[in-house]
């Protein structure tokens, strides 16, 4: 990259430039250090402390992590989180891909932008409200139960809210919108020449899709899926509102440590576990990810 300093030869001027540049970048760096790096380091350290009664005991130990792996109630949180996140990611991709494909291929060009904006419009409801509105649909006297009962499909209301299914539905709703957007932008970047070439070589529609279109859009899918994984596994709101107190996920257990038990070291240890899960996911799909370097 060209440098503003290259025009001036005097080193004194370059030094002055450099000092100025440090002055510009310093506020952002200091903010990130003070309110992100330091708190994070503090939290990591705290995960190695212990709570005894109402006090923090600053003796270094791995008790919290040992407890996490030995206490079923805690470890099950990670299992639930991983199961729900994987289910949500897979269903969301499977629902969003055809939608993005239909918008990119079947909807007339001039209407595509409108179709896309419509597809992600509910994205702009408040996050808390979005989960709440699923409660209106899924609760015992909610829309689905009343509709099914009025047409005689069921005689007793189904228990839809406060279940894992409700959590999954709420998440899928959110991520289908997100993934449709990312997959669509991938599909329209695809040059039609690839498909023409495949057709010329005698491939039918399915073969073209399976051997040409799908592999070419895989990086986009994986990027979207990774984003879904990260946002889903760290979310507290949706499982708390829709899943209720059954089958708690990791963020819910972290919040329980904070609230009822005021056990900060345990909450910190669980957060580190959460972060490690995300890191593993990143490593697992790193070779497909194309996160543009800023």
């Amino acid at each position: 990259m060209a440098d503003a300093g290259t025009l001036r030869s005097a080193t004194a001027l370059e030094d002055a430039d450099r000092r100025k540049a440090w002055g510009f970048v310093a506020p952002a760096l200091l903010w990130t250090l003070a309110f992100f790096v330091v708190p994070f380091a503090f939290m990591a350290a705290m995960s190695l402390w212990k709570r005894e009664g109402r006090d923090l005991v600053r003796i270094w130990n791995f008790d919290n992590y040992v407890r996490f792996f030995s206490e079923n109630a805690l470890f099950q949180g990670l299992v639930n989180s991983l199961e729900i996140t994987v289910i949500v990611t897979v269903i969301s991709v499977l629902l969003a891909y055809p939608l993005a494909w239909i918008i990119a291929e079947r909807v007339p060009k001039r209407l595509q932008r409108l179709a896309l904006i419509l597809a992600i419009l509910p994205f702009w409801t408040s996050y808390v409200v979005r989960s709440y509105s699923w409660l209106l649909v899924l609760s015992k006297n909610g829309v689905i139960n009343q509709m099914f009962m009025s047409i005689g499909l069921i005689s007793e209301p189904l228990e839809l809210a406060s279940t894992r299914t409700a959590t999954v539905i709420g998440f899928v709703h959110f991520f289908v919108m997100l993934l449709t957007l990312t997959i669509y932008s991938n599909l329209i970047q695809l040059s039609p020449n690839y498909r023409r070439a495949a057709a010329d070589l005698g491939a039918n529609a399915f073969q073209t899709f399976w051997h040409v279109v799908l592999p070419l859009t895989l990086p986009g899918i994986m990027t979207g899926a990774f984003l879904t994984f990260v946002l889903c596994i760290g979310d507290y709101v949706t499982p708390q509102i829709l899943g209720g107190n059954n089958e708690l996920v990791l963020p819910q257990i972290i919040m329980l440590q904070l609230g009822r038990r005021a056990d900060f070291p345990m909450a910190a240890a669980l957060s580190i576990v959460l972060m490690l899960a995300v890191t593993f996911a990143y490593v697992a799909c790193a070779r497909w990810l194309k996160i543009e370097r800023a």
Partner: protein, 263 residues
């Protein structure tokens, strides 16, 4: 021919079904915000504006709305300002360890909000700093600064350098160059960064929940309304927030992004 029709019918059916799924909760939310009755579930008893009136006379809700606006605007201004300065320095000067600096500035993007909030909360507790709207704002700058930096940095192309040099040769100081030359050239991305930050801060729950105490933001106030179960008043405030976001989106689409597309 028949197969083509069949494929078309299948596509459009799928499209309609997924759109129905996407719009179902929002439609229910808005419809039952007008419910003439105490429960926002079927049967629909008829239109009544009573729950919107209830929202507007609710002092706590209105205070939370004001708080959300203040936090969103102030934290976004700080994020854009710090992000712009950092992007300017890293794009225009050679600084040692600039890759590391960029990585550090982007890093908070990769960490869950819950973890960022928890870290800040433990630190504030340890330093005996009382929780307030300010601590919420600090947290929101942490999550929005990476975003603003990334957006503005990405738009700082090398082709702007010569214009900046010309201004400098004509005697403009660094601040003048930044304020009168660089910032106006980057205005679309600066505004995009700003509005994106406002949206994120405005809608953010977990940081605002953990880092506030007496003064709360709108999502936190709505959260505490949920304890009363299904309530048409929650529908009303939810619908209003949705309407406001869509209005902002429309303005952006028509003005800002419409203009950048042409240029």
């Amino acid at each position: 021919m028949l197969r083509r029709i069949f494929a078309n019918v299948l596509s459009w059916t799928y499209l309609v079904l997924v759109y129905a799924f996407i719009f179902l909760p929002v439609a229910v939310l808005v419809l039952f915000s007008f419910q003439d009755g105490r429960l926002p579930v079927p049967p629909f008893n008829g239109f009544s504006p009573q729950w919107y009136e209830a929202v507007f006379v609710d002092r706590k809700l209105m205070a939370a709305l004001g708080n959300s606006l203040i936090v969103a605007l102030v934290s976004s201004v700080i994020s854009v300002l710090l992000g712009f300065l950092a992007a300017y320095a890293l794009a225009r000067y050679k600084l040692p360890g600039s890759a590391l600096q960029r990585g550090l500035l982007i890093a908070p993007m990769t960490v869950s909000y819950l973890i960022i909030a928890l870290g800040l909360l433990s630190l504030m507790n340890a330093l005996h700093i009382p929780l307030s709207l300010m601590t919420v704002g600090i947290g929101h700058v942490v999550i929005n600064l990476p975003l603003c930096f990334a957006i503005i940095y990405a738009s700082m192309g090398d082709h702007h350098i010569n214009i900046e040099r010309a201004a400098r040769d004509l005697g403009a100081s660094d601040f003048k160059v930044m304020a009168l030359v660089t910032a106006p050239m980057l205005m679309p991305s600066i505004l995009a960064a700003f509005f994106l930050s406002v949206t994120f801060s405005w809608d953010e729950f977990i940081i605002a929940f953990l880092l506030s105490r007496f003064d709360v933001t709108l999502p936190v106030e709505i959260w505490s309304m949920l304890r009363s179960g299904l309530n048409p008043k929650t529908n009303a405030i939810g619908s209003l927030v949705f309407l406001a976001s869509v209005a902002v989106l429309l303005i952006l689409e028509l003005s800002l992004f419409g203009r950048t597309k042409k240029s």
